[in-house]
Amino acid sequence: GQQVMQIPQYQHVQEGEDFTTYCNSSTTLSNIQWYKQRPGGHPVFLIQLVKSGEVKKQKRLTFQFGEAKKNSSLHITATQTTDVGTYFCAEGGFQKLVFGTGTRLLVSP
């Protein structure tokens, strides 16, 4: 079955450092969505990418969809303590909304 893996599983950075999480699928993705889950909270939608090679930015966050539509990345520039949480990628298909394994980010002040 379809698997969506994310690396790293966990990263601990100092405030101000950059952070990147990678999402890799065994199959071609129709689209990629990114969600953030704060500790003790629920996943919250960040963005959706649909086109091959698409790049979108939200302030310090840069999202990229691979040319083959099998991978994606989320890059955070100059992390802040408010960036703490787990970041999930997901294929936003209709049938089951497949989530990646998630990357947990810790930011030390």
Partner: protein
């Protein structure tokens, strides 16, 4: 606009009992998804309901079941509870290929 609501927030059950979790989707959303999130782990897909019917289910035993009502709200039932069923159960609603909205979740503890 009201978001996805789940009840109860917390639920404590003993092994072997049954648990019923409820979810009300955002108005206008006909699809409801259920996920299990064990402590510190990822989101495991449980069930997908759309227009009142079960459309897909994940790799969970039959004691995990549910239904969707005519108003699109949904119930998740877990029978013969086991200790490893302790987790956060999240409900999400969406339309088509758009983003999913999650509820706050039900924290189920089996003792």
């Amino acid at each position: 606009e009201a978001g996805v609501t789940q009840s109860p927030t917390h639920l404590i059950k003993t092994r072997g009992q049954q648990a019923t979790l409820r979810c009300s989707p955002i108005s206008g959303h006909t699809s409801v998804y259920w996920y299990q999130q064990a402590l510190g782990l990822g989101l495991q897909f449980l069930l997908w309901y759309d227009e009142g019917e079960e459309r897909n289910r994940g790799n969970f035993p039959p004691r995990f079941s549910g239904r969707q009502f005519p108003n699109y709200s949904s119930e998740l039932n877990v029978n013969a509870l086991e200790l490893e069923d302790s987790a956060l159960y999240l409900c999400a609603s969406k339309t088509s290929l758009l983003k999913a909205f999650f509820g706050q979740g039900t924290r189920l503890t089996v003792v």
